[in-house]
């Protein structure tokens, strides 16, 4: 046998053998999605190939967007595993079947609300039937849009960027935007008063309340799942450290006291632990600490260098975070107890949706930053094209 022909074959075989090891199965046990053994390739769920018929124009666009966000590929009838047959005469009617038409998942008529909300409801039913995941299409997002490198304003919109409303007119910079309990408020760090301070803004009254305005840095507010506590990064002690307080800022307790700097706290969904990034060891790594205080313990993030901006999935199983490579920022997930990291896509500041499957994050291209949604099990991502301007710090309603 000719050796020079053998080597490419061996190389190809080696690459094929190694591929499954590189694409980790962190999401294979996701309980929010139906686990179909036949559909798993290399630990990633294949996108669901779906064909849509009977819709056109705006309704079709909305349905396509929603289904792609939910983990589907929109394909021709020949390539489809699932068929969506819909109509939009007086209201949206939609039927989901397998490709032969013999297995019928549902056939529903959507009456209330606008065409938009009816299409979103149809999309939600399709995603629920295929993946088991609950709908996120009724959620809102909050985000910031840059007006200069050191100025931005807050917007709230539907999850797909439609119906945006501008909330602020500060002419200064906002960081660490996050929703408050019951989505009735937003918390953020603002430089409006000439110093980075943490505020709460009530969405019904428009009233803004100071939560932390100590000398130095007050930033990165994170509200506990029960809505009673706030974690923050304050440098009042001489270095940016993790603090926890009542949600109005009273009863302040210092949790870390390191020579490095801490950043970006996030709560475990059961409210007992806080995960954050720290440069305590010299490089930025993820740590977890009991919410009432105690020892900080590193969460292993094998396979990447830096780890910042963690966000804990609502089902408790995964932590999404940002790593910085030589050339770009990358969104990653790691099991919440630590382990091997799965690098997902280029971007920064990830935030989990309530379904523990969809991440929203920002991605910079040149000077402009776009908002992106990613379905973690299928890796399908969609840029939220309707958001204009350079947008950062996207976050889902709780």
């Amino acid at each position: 046998m000719n050796i020079s022909r053998l080597i490419p074959t061996l190389f190809a075989a080696l690459v094929l053998a190694v591929t499954p090891l590189l694409s980790l199965d962190a999401q294979a046990q996701s309980s929010s999605g139906a686990y179909d053994i036949d559909r798993n390739i290399s630990g990633t769920t294949k996108p669901y190939p779906v064909n849509i018929s009977g819709l056109s124009g705006e309704a079709l666009k909305i349905l396509q967007f929603d289904l792609e966000v939910g983990g589907c590929d929109i394909v021709s009838k020949d390539s489809a595993d699932y068929l969506v047959t819909a109509s939009n005469k007086e209201n949206i009617i939609g039927k989901l079947t397998d490709k032969t038409g013999s297995i019928r998942f549902f056939n529903r008529s959507y009456k209330n609300g606008t065409t938009h909300t009816q299409v979103h409801a149809l999309a939600a039913d399709i995603i629920k039937a295929l993946t088991g995941a609950d709908s996120i299409f009724g959620n809102k997002i909050a985000y910031c849009v840059n007006t200069a490198t050191d100025k931005n304003e807050i917007y709230i919109a539907d999850f797909d960027g439609s119906n945006p409303h501008k909330l602020t007119n500060d002419g200064s910079m906002i960081r660490g935007l996050t929703w408050g309990p019951d989505n009735e408020s937003l918390f953020f760090c603002s430089y409006r008063a000439g110093n980075p301070d943490i505020y709460r803004q009530d969405l019904r009254t428009g009233k803004r309340t100071r939560i932390a305005a100590y000398l130095g840095l007050n930033t990165s507010p994170a509200i506990s799942p029960d809505g009673k506590k706030i974690a923050m990064i304050l440098s009042k002690g001489g270095s940016p450290d993790l603090y926890v307080a009542n949600i109005d800022g009273t009863n302040l307790k210092q949790l870390t006291n390191t020579k490095g700097d801490e950043s970006s706290p996030c709560w475990s969904p059961d409210g007992t632990k806080i995960c954050f990034s720290s440069r305590q060891s010299g490089a930025s790594r993820l740590y977890v600490i009991p919410a009432g205080g105690g020892q900080m313990k590193q969460i292993k993030t094998s396979g990447v260098g830096s780890a910042t901006e963690p966000d804990w999935s609502p089902d408790g199983k995964s932590i999404a975070f940002t790593t910085t490579t030589r050339r770009s920022f990358q969104i990653c997930v790691v099991p919440s107890q630590g382990g091997v990291v799965e690098v997902l896509a280029e971007g920064a500041s990830p935030n989990w949706a309530s379904n523990s499957r969809t991440l929203i994050f920002s991605r910079k291209s040149g000077k402009k930053s776009s908002l992106v949604m990613l379905d973690v099990p299928t890796k399908k991502s969609k840029i939220i094209g309707s958001v204009t301007g350079s947008a950062t710090q996207p976050c889902w309603t709780r």
Binding site: D150, L215, T308
Partner: protein
Amino acid sequence: MKNLFKPLSVLGLILAVSLMTSGCKNPKPGLTDIPTTSPRIKQAGPTGPNQGANNTAKNNNGGGLGYGDSNGIGNGSNLGGNGIDDLTDDQFAKMSADAQREYFEGRPMDREIFKAYTVYFDFDSSSVRPADAANVQHVAEYLSSHGDCALLIEGHCDERGTDEYNQALGERRAQSVKETIANAGIASHRVRTLSYGESKPAEDGTTAEAYAKNRRGEFILLLPKTEGGSLAEVNDVSLDVE
């Protein structure tokens, strides 16, 4: 069997290349008009953009609790009759957060006087470099002979970290410089830190040189408060005044 070698090796190459590359194409975003006024939501608090800090200490939007001890010493001016600061660090620490802020706010700022003494940092580091020790010393000496002045140290980063990470790193840099000023004999409470993260680069660009210029700590002299506490930028302060 022979015929499979070529396609298999091509497949292998394709697989290998696709594993090594990453990134997604960005389709052009659609455009939607964003209303410029907020239809329902009113705002309380100061109106209009505000780079100054006059209103912070008086702004009691329900945030009065939780600011440490409220039975502090010396609300308002903390300067003795001859204009020299006679507070100790311990006394300052016992002041309320609002009072501490007010100690610094309302002072005219001089951004030019120490411009040549900006200190620079290595990537991802907040250590003050030995080469910058002389700069720090100069600033400390000036503060030593101008006891009625305070100091603002601004910490900055290049764009290669994420936003919140850079906010914290910028603050750590400013705090590091503050420590060296304190080690040179200046009372710690006379020095304030403020991090801008990556948001105020000194130089635009993505070269190593531009990045190096952005990783910095800047010194801003805070002069004694004038009557009425106006926040004026003073660029021509005479250095001979005693």
